[in-house]
Symmetry: C2
Subunit: 390 residues, 2 copies
């Protein structure tokens, strides 16, 4: 086990009607003037925005609104939010929705107290010294952004998509009501399941020895995601499974499952380009690529894949560990299939001809590789893409 | 699953030489003048105190010391610490050792900024509004106090042992170096193992339905404690198992394994009197009582005990769930035996004649019962004590 630090300062309010506690909880923290940042349509139509506003009013917390945030959020609304925030002495920013609303809220939160252009932080030209408190009210279980330290914004005029990571934007409060996820379309729920499982895989496949406790924890959450994920997808009003998945999405991407071990992240690294060039959903690309990543990496550590097969995928213990490991990977593909997830890069319109460019898109380190478990070379990446194109 | 809030603000620094980061981390938090509270002997002899002092000096953090804290800590040193703290403008209190040093540190931290007698808080005469930041440097894995919100102090003149619970005393920093636990005597390590398993049992045996994710997490940590606990006890220099157990002790008693479920705590409730009247170690009383508590509660929910037997104790799945459940409980007793833990109240000098008084000692609720899983009446408590006396 490696040395580690562990710090999750976010206060989570989880359960039915959690959003009705926004006013009370903000007041407890001494926050009095909120900018609510949200997307287009559903949070308004569903009445969620009105419920949050009522909760704030009931606790004498005043607010302003900034709606219309789109997926892959851009810089325009960030500048608008910073202007509104400064002119009205906003003291915190509340993201209401999924990753886009939240990432925009985070960008506004670092921009308001900063004298320069907020984009300096995303362009690595300045370090965040101060940020307004960020609050999240989540409507989609997937990305773990409700308590993460990151935000991704696209500068439209270039265009350039850049990420910011700083502890200053980790939400101080996260409101998680599983009922809000009931109406998420089934395929998006499936993308979310693939995304959160992938977050755990990036931590589970490690070279760090003697990490029994976190292995057990990773396996516990993975088994739960498989069981409750299936249930949720085919029972759109089932509270228990939606609740399991919502909390699993948080645990999957905070440090609970990562203590004391090296993480990999090569599969995420080779997946991003598929989204960028072919507009594929992030979770969909991970569902396609991870089984092929596993097959490609199998011989680096057969015993780890055997453990995964037995402990997570329910493969019987047996003498031939390699065969069992492959069976486990195939069972993962079958599970993804059962959720309606794609299993070939063809689904996104990727062709053999596009592969060299996709390989060139992958951001490699100074050694010309990506990842830590078994670092992938350009040849490895091409081999995985090719296998996933069948 | 019940609604819940979840908040662990403690920043953990875990691993080899963790204590050498005290100075740097305190400085990061702007803390400049520490009162170090510690016990008698071992932290001085081992050089731990000197290492912490060196780390503080290296970061220009000044400090004062208050040593000599004894097990079952009393109020005298608390008053002394408050006086030293006020006279020297101490801005935080660092507990170095086990629960006694830490609980004393917490009492001093609430006492310094308070105008009245610190005992007001323990006697339920006042509510904590403010406390100095508390820091923990742990030397024993067991109680989870390194990040807990509680402190127990004995008022010597009465004598009266009282507990305080408030979020204000949850440590802001916890330094956990597994190597510091190498030299803990084997029997105390065993007590710690029983204690942390009991912390999970109190959460695991619940009536709350649909808590699959936390069931899986509880089972994951319990399996790890069983495996690494045995290893640690018979390999006193084995880092991996000591590290697993140290982190498991923290997870066992913070909210990670408790989200969304009713907890019980009746077995702890009936164990305290055995320590009070017979001086028995807390972990030892839990090791004796829990298997008998389980047998007594078996028919309230055979399926839950069956799940425990299969998932935690490794009993084979089978048609007769009751028989399997009993086998699981017996395997737990065998495990405790293997660690050298006692399995009868006789070990502590308890006699049949003492039982009525012990029953009377148990603090019951208004309904005359204790616990939530299947509330224990006085008759139930007597029956469990009797069974445990054989």
């Amino acid at each position: 086990m490696d040395n580690f630090t562990f710090h999750i300062p976010t206060q989570f309010v989880f359960g039915k009607s959690a959003e009705m506690q926004t006013g009370k909880k903000l007041k407890e923290l001494g926050l009095k003037n909120v900018l609510i940042v949200y997307g287009t349509g559903s949070v308004v139509r569903s009445g969620l925005l009105d419920r949050v506003k009522k909760s704030l009013k009931d606790s004498d917390v005043s607010f302003l609104e900034l709606g219309g945030i789109v997926p892959n959020p851009v810089d325009g609304p960030v500048y608008e939010g910073i202007r509104i925030g400064r002119e009205n002495n906003i003291d915190c920013v509340l993201g209401l929705g999924g990753g886009s609303a939240l990432d925009t809220a985070k960008a506004i939160a670092v921009g308001i107290p900063y004298n320069g252009d907020f984009w300096d932080f995303y362009a690595d030209k300045a370090t965040v010294e101060e940020a307004l408190p960020v609050i999240s009210v989540l409507t989609i279980a997937a990305a773990g952004s409700e308590s993460s330290n990151s935000s991704v914004i696209t500068k439209e005029e270039i265009p350039l998509k850049k990420g910011l990571k700083t502890e200053k934007i980790r939400p101080v409060l996260a409101f998680l009501n599983p009922e809000l996820t009931f109406t998420v379309p089934a395929i998006q729920k499936a993308y979310g399941i693939a995304d959160m499982m992938a977050h755990i895989f990036e931590r589970y496949f490690t070279n760090t020895k003697d990490v029994l406790l976190t292995d057990e924890l990773c396996e516990a959450v993975l088994r739960t995601i498989i069981k409750s994920g299936s249930k949720m997808l085919f029972n759109s009003q089932d509270y228990a499974s939606h609740a399991d998945i919502m909390w699993a999405g948080t645990l999957a991407h905070n440090d609970t499952l990562a203590t004391g071990r090296q993480q990999d992240w090569s599969c995420h690294g080779i997946a991003h380009g598929i989204s960028a060039r072919f507009g594929a959903a992030h979770g969909a690309t991970l569902a396609v690529l991870f089984p092929f990543w596993m097959l490609h990496q199998l011989h680096h550590d057969v015993e780890r894949f055997y453990r995964f097969a037995v402990k997570v995928m329910g493969v019987d213990e047996q003498g031939n560990h390699e065969a069992a490991a492959i069976e486990g990977i195939n069972k993962l593909r079958t599970f993804f299939d059962s959720l309606g997830l794609p299993h070939s890069l063809k689904t996104f319109g990727v062709t053999e001809e596009a592969l060299p460019e996709l390989v060139d898109d992958v951001k490699l380190n100074d050694e010309g590789t990506i990842g830590f478990f078994k670092p992938l070379t350009k040849e490895d990446i091409l081999a995985i893409y090719k296998a996933a194109l069948k």
